[in-house]
């Protein structure tokens, strides 16, 4: 190329680009809009199959809406009249009928249920899917085991339309565990066709596309950008959903998600800062729903195996030194349920979570610390997960300030998200904040994972107490045999003990916040806290 030509061509391109694009508008756009739900959120799925390796939480949302389970929960009226899943009531989704016997449960499948490709849903699909859930390892297998569902032999095909689940032992959580996201029913023939020797469960195939019978089917997924789902008009799991098409876009910037909502371009969003939710609530242009996490608590944990936190007096001192109300006001803008400051004469309830009797009392904290032999305080570090820095960072700064008043010098240790679980697993952090919430909303379930001496990952404090173990095991037994009196006394017992020994200090029960346009209705709260498109209506 000659240099003169080059220079000329550059100016030519410049002139060409200045010609304005013709303005064309499409009427078809407006129609599509009214039948489409546009969701904006920070992150999107990394895998469309909950049985996959390392499927993230947004992936659960796709699974929930695109796959069916045998049974699901009924709805009841929750806080503020918002529909809330009913922990104790089940209804069939793929199953027409559920018969619970002493050591098994039998499901009759709906005769006209079909997968997205038109194949009828048969008992062998159910068995294959449940086998898959207990066999693939990782999270799905772990979740199944929480309901004592561990072996493929437990799932029996009785006939083409009937499946029996045998109980390994009596466990109150077995039936509820069949209604969580994991035991979804997969199109076994389709997936088997796409499986390989290395990948017998076809996980690579279902990672990229849905192979279920659910109310929605995937039409397009661009990882990190968008997920588009269309309604499955042949769905028999429940009443036909109103929304025809769901477009779920990833918008990483929280400010822009709010702008999109306020301008009316997006229909629903979650994962916004608490301050935004509080302001949107106040200005009333949008519907903001705030509901407590079922069975969830944000807490301050302490490693009880090492000084100084091996001393219960020190732990109690910390519990009296925390700035509870400040955290509620400044960090959460009131969008949480306080888990502190119950009056001294309040009787312990058979419920979880429930508030402790601790409240900020510096004099008491100082006295307890002196009694424990740390009158001059000590030095420690307080750690948090940077993935949730929006809440964790201000929270830890407030705790740091408060502890300084009783002579405890705490250095803040910010841990990147990728490293957080590794650190939790090591169980070496002396002081940290974390959140735990269980899908299955039962006190003994929470305590089994968080306080039991078998020292699971969630017992982040390494707390061990034979007395506690006895109470937790007792409650689990009583629940499976239906012995209400024993159950109640054991639950009250372990709550009291947990608050006396205080290895972890409950701060608050977090809220899940969802903001939506005024013309969107039908939002339902589910234990998994993701959206259920099936009930949503756009007016």
């Amino acid at each position: 190329m000659k240099r003169r030509d080059f220079l000329k061509s550059v100016t030519g391109v410049a002139a060409g680009a200045l010609v304005p694009a013709p303005a064309i508008f499409s009427p078809a756009k407006a129609d599509a809009r009214s039948e489409t739900l546009l969701i904006v959120s920070e992150g999107g799925p990394n895998n469309l199959d909950i049985h996959g390796v390392g499927t993230n939480v947004p992936g659960y949302e796709v699974s929930w809406n695109c796959y069916d389970r045998l049974i699901t929960h009924e709805m009841k009226s929750g806080p503020g009249g918002v529909p809330y899943y009913d922990r104790d009531k089940f209804k069939g989704e793929l199953a027409d009928d559920m018969k619970i016997d002493d050591m098994s449960v039998t499901f009759k499948l709906k005769k006209n249920a079909k997968f997205h490709d038109g194949t009828p849903v048969a008992a062998k699909d159910v068995k294959w899917s449940l086998d898959r859930a207990v066999s693939v390892g990782g999270f799905p297998t772990f979740q199944m085991s929480a309901g004592s569902l561990t072996k493929p032999e437990q799932f029996v095909v009785v006939d083409d339309n009937t499946v029996r689940v045998d109980f390994a032992k009596k466990d109150r959580l077995t039936i509820p565990d069949l209604a969580v996201i994991v035991p979804c029913v997969v199109n076994s023939e389709l997936v088997k066709k796409n499986a390989s020797e290395k990948d017998p469960w076809g996980l690579e195939y279902t990672k990229q596309q849905t192979a279920g019978s659910g109310a929605y089917k995937l039409s397009k997924w661009t990882a990190g950008t968008e997920v588009i789902m269309e309604r499955n008009d042949a769905w028999v799991g429940g009443p036909l959903p109103k929304i025809k098409r769901v477009i779920w876009r990833m918008v990483p910037q929280a400010g822009n998600r709010r702008a999109l909502l306020e301008r009316g371009d997006a229909d629903i969003s979650y994962e916004l800062p608490f301050k935004d939710f509080q302001e949107m609530k106040a200005n009333g242009k949008l519907n903001v729903v705030s509901l407590p996490f079922s069975n969830g608590i944000q807490y301050i944990g302490m490693n009880v195996t090492k000084p100084p936190f091996d001393n219960p007096k020190v732990r109690q001192a910390i519990a009296y030194a925390l700035p509870y109300q400040k955290i509620m006001d400044v960090v959460l803008f009131g969008l949480a349920n306080p888990m502190f400051g119950a009056s001294a004469d309040k009787a312990t309830e058979v419920a979880w979570p429930q508030p402790t009797k601790y409240s900020t009392d510096m004099a008491k904290a100082k006295a307890l610390l002196a009694e424990a032999g740390y009158a001059n305080g000590f030095e420690t570090t307080i750690s948090f997960d940077l993935n949730f820095a929006g809440v964790n960072e201000p929270l830890c700064v407030l705790v740091q300030e408060s502890l300084a008043q009783i002579g405890i010098k705490a250095t803040i240790n910010k841990i990147p998200g990728a490293n957080w679980r590794t650190e939790l697993n090591k169980k070496e952090m002396p002081l940290y904040t974390n959140v735990f919430s269980g899908w299955l909303d039962y006190p003994e379930y929470f305590f089994y994972w968080c306080y039991h001496g078998n020292n699971s990952v969630f017992n982040t404090m390494s707390y061990k107490s034979p007395e506690m173990d006895k109470l937790i095991d007792g409650a689990r037994n009583a629940a499976s045999t239906g012995d209400k009196a024993a159950y109640d006394s054991d639950v009250k017992g372990f709550v009291d003990l947990a608050y006396k020994d205080i290895p972890r200090i409950p701060l608050y029960q977090p809220f899940v916040n969802v903001a939506m346009q005024k013309n969107i209705s039908g939002y339902q709260y589910w234990f998994h806290r993701r959206l259920d498109y099936r009930a949503l209506v756009k007016a």
Binding site: K2, N56, G224
Partner: protein, 337 residues
Amino acid sequence: MLTMIGKRLMFAIPSLIGVVIVTFLLTRALPGDPAAYFAGPAATKEAVEQIRKKLGLDKPLIEQFFRYTNDLAHGDFGNSLTTGQPVAAEIRNRLPASAELTLLGLFVSIVIAIPLGVLAATRPGSWIDHLCRITTTAGVSLPVFFTGLVLVYVFYFRLGWSPAPLGRLDVFYSAPPTVTGFYLIDTLIARDLEAFRSALSQLILPATTLAIFSLAPIARMTRASMLAVLASDFVRTARASGLSPGTVIVTYAFRNAMLPVITTLSMVFSFLLGANVLVEKVFAWPGIGSYAVEALISSDFAPVQGFVLTMAVMYVLLNLIIDILYGVIDPRVRLEG
């Protein structure tokens, strides 16, 4: 020319090998544990071990490295865990998005910055010189995400002139069939003017944001380079010979002042391509920068390695192109080369 290109590419091979080794070691040295991260919040120790085994992370480092290089030799960059997709496909999809945005931003920037720089140099100390100084200082001192957010706030949220910052196309348009990966070109090839208009209007704000940021180096470099050339003997001779000021500045001075400007352009381009993460975040742009950063946060090795490698290759190619351009613009460079 061909021998020169061949030679340059040969020189690039050792640096690429170096990049492969260093990125591999660096990602392994990151503090996070991908197995624990991807095992999910409810994982037991056994579950974490199962994941580790599935990911091949239980093998010794050297074996992992050989497996990685072997895959690489077969064109397989591995799989991203955060997005669940093959890295090569993701980079192929995302690179055009970043490139289109960056090129347009750079183009807008050139159109403004070069005339501004030239004018500032011909009239040093005048109002236009001060204007140049103020714009460039403001542009470079405003962080990109801030400029981006202000533009979104004013033009989308307040005025409603700009479409929703939702990536490359309006939600209700479907992407054109991929030919170049550049939506502006692909929509025209598909003769879909509506989508073209949508793609262009989505591009305006992010491209402006990038342009504002990259104005400074280009304008300043043009000005400095022009000042030096305008003070040189041949320009004085040209002026003394009675050539018109326009001919002196454009034909003689500007061409000679272009070399350092081209170098700056290449620097700015490669910098923008990799570093416009923040702009991509603000405008939900499915580009390569945000992809790499998200992967880094979750210690997802494969995309980070793939990203660094792609960038290294891009740098090599870019330098090559710049060197060839030098020759086109200034024959002396060609002779010496």
